[in-house]
């Protein structure tokens, strides 16, 4: 992360509570001579309601950092508190529950499930949270309407994702991050 720059973007800042508080976060990959230190003592504060962007060259550790914040990657050392939860003290199962309840994702490569319709893809997080299928699909249709895919939420949506229309494809991905998530993370071009 040495080359990455943290750029706080001005916006509506709600209160003094921190959504993310990182202190001395380190993370390495590999062993021995091939060991690569991806994060080297990262300190970061992100306030509630703040829009934060990470900018840096490829390979500098942006994805590693947000993966640690999103509780899908364990840091080697440091203090990592997200929405008041100490991620370093959490077991994997607790992290899974934490992600389910608090983190919304918009993936760099969309990661839509090709066998599912747009509506079903959007409904997946709600289904994971235990919502009923009909309720999840209803909510997903509403969200798709919000991102301008109201007419393509059924079975016909799927072939559209196979075409290289990235602008269209990322909208279900956006919709998939649940409106209830308090922390949303987006990677690479989707972040823009």
């Amino acid at each position: 992360m040495s080359a990455a720059t943290v750029l706080p973007v001005a916006g509506e800042i709600g209160g003094e509570n921190l959504a993310v508080r990182l202190r001395g976060i380190t993370r390495s990959f590999g062993r021995g001579e091939s060991k690569v230190l991806a994060l080297r003592g990262i300190d970061l504060d992100v306030r509630q309601g703040e829009l934060m962007m990470l900018v840096g060259p490829s390979g500098c550790g942006k994805t590693t950092l947000i993966s640690v914040i999103a509780a899908i990657l364990d840091a080697d050392a440091g203090d990592c508190r997200v929405l008041g939860h100490d991620l370093m003290a959490m077991r994997q199962s607790a992290k899974t529950t934490f992600r389910r309840g608090h983190i919304g994702f918009v993936f760099q490569s969309y990661n839509l499930l090709p066998s599912l319709t747009a509506t079903e893809n959007v409904a997946v997080p709600l289904l994971i949270r235990g919502h009923g299928r009909m309720a999840a699909l209803t909510a997903a249709r509403r969200v798709l309407g919000e991102v301008g895919l109201a007419g393509r939420r059924g079975g016909a949506a799927r072939p559209a994702f196979r075409r290289p229309a990235a602008a269209r494809r990322h909208r279900p991905g956006l919709g998939r991050r649940s409106g209830a998530n308090r922390l949303r993370r987006a990677d690479q071009r989707i972040g823009s």
Partner: protein, 384 residues
Amino acid sequence: MLAIALKMLTGNRGKYFAIVVALGFTSFVMTQQPATFFGIMARTFSFLTDTGRVDLWVMDAKVQYVDDAKPMQDTKLYAVRGVEGVEWAVPMYKGSIRARLDDGTFQNCVLVGLDDVSLIGGPADMVEGHLADLRRSDSIIVDIDGASTRLARKSADGAARPLGIGDVVELNDHRATVVGLSRLSATFQSQPVIHTTYARAKAFVPAERKLLTFILVKLRPDADPAVVAERIRAATGLAAYDWNEFRYKTVLYFIRNTGILINFGLSITLAFLIGAAIAGQTFYAFTLENLRHFGVLKALGAGNGTLAKMVLVQALVAGATGYGLGVGGVAVFSHFVVGSNFRFLLLWQIPLITGLMILLVCVLTALLSIRKVIKLEPAVVFKA
């Protein structure tokens, strides 16, 4: 989430098709081959099935199976009747005889001679005529399959005419009149079966000093079959078996002295191994292909238990579909072979065992895939 799992499975049509076809093939062969095997085995003791369940079958001690005729002296019958615990005992002849057909050719037949007085051991299912008609002179009862095929007569126009009541057959230069048609289980060698009386059978076959093949024994109500069998062995030197023992001895003989079990066993084993390997590998490849999607679900908060259930449901549904296709294929197959000369006996245990084996394959494959999914780091979804 299980619906999502099923959509993931069926959405990948190529792999889903390959898994289902592999498991369907395995199920089909694992059901059809044992059914054929048991069908053949059932024919080895069809004579016992048709004769009915007398308490004991007494025979020469060297007899190895039901068609292994080793005649005894008629005096053995009286010796057996004298053993304590025996209510009654009747003679039975079983041997081979040549029937001369109208066109001058010969057909080997199984000749069964029943006790002249009681006719015990005669066919229970008479299509035409009555068992008691055997008391008429020169009378025989022919099984209907034999009468319709191998013993059928040629009409003047060349068409085959089934042997019927009143027709005369030449058995070893003896005149015999058909007085009845019976329905019997198909025999191992598919030869026509002719029933007549014991005395007449002795007259039909070439003269030999010993012609008594079996002694059928009825025990007294309080007698223990095993004890009486032992007494008969001790008193006469003959072997005595109950119906199940004799059937088992017959089946065992064919299993030991033919390659039938190895042959069928090999084909079943190969089908299982090949089908399981193809289905297992394809399902594992399907999981690997979807690993990224499982990673997405994991990142979104799906727990290992949920993902494991998804993989298990995918494997079980693929297995159930393949099993259904395979066993359904066997049902269609059996529909077409019923009534033909094809040997087929589908015991209820066969589809059950096949189902358990398919379940085993699915569970093992699912476990391998689940292991991969559980070890998956959700961060994999951020790799480009």
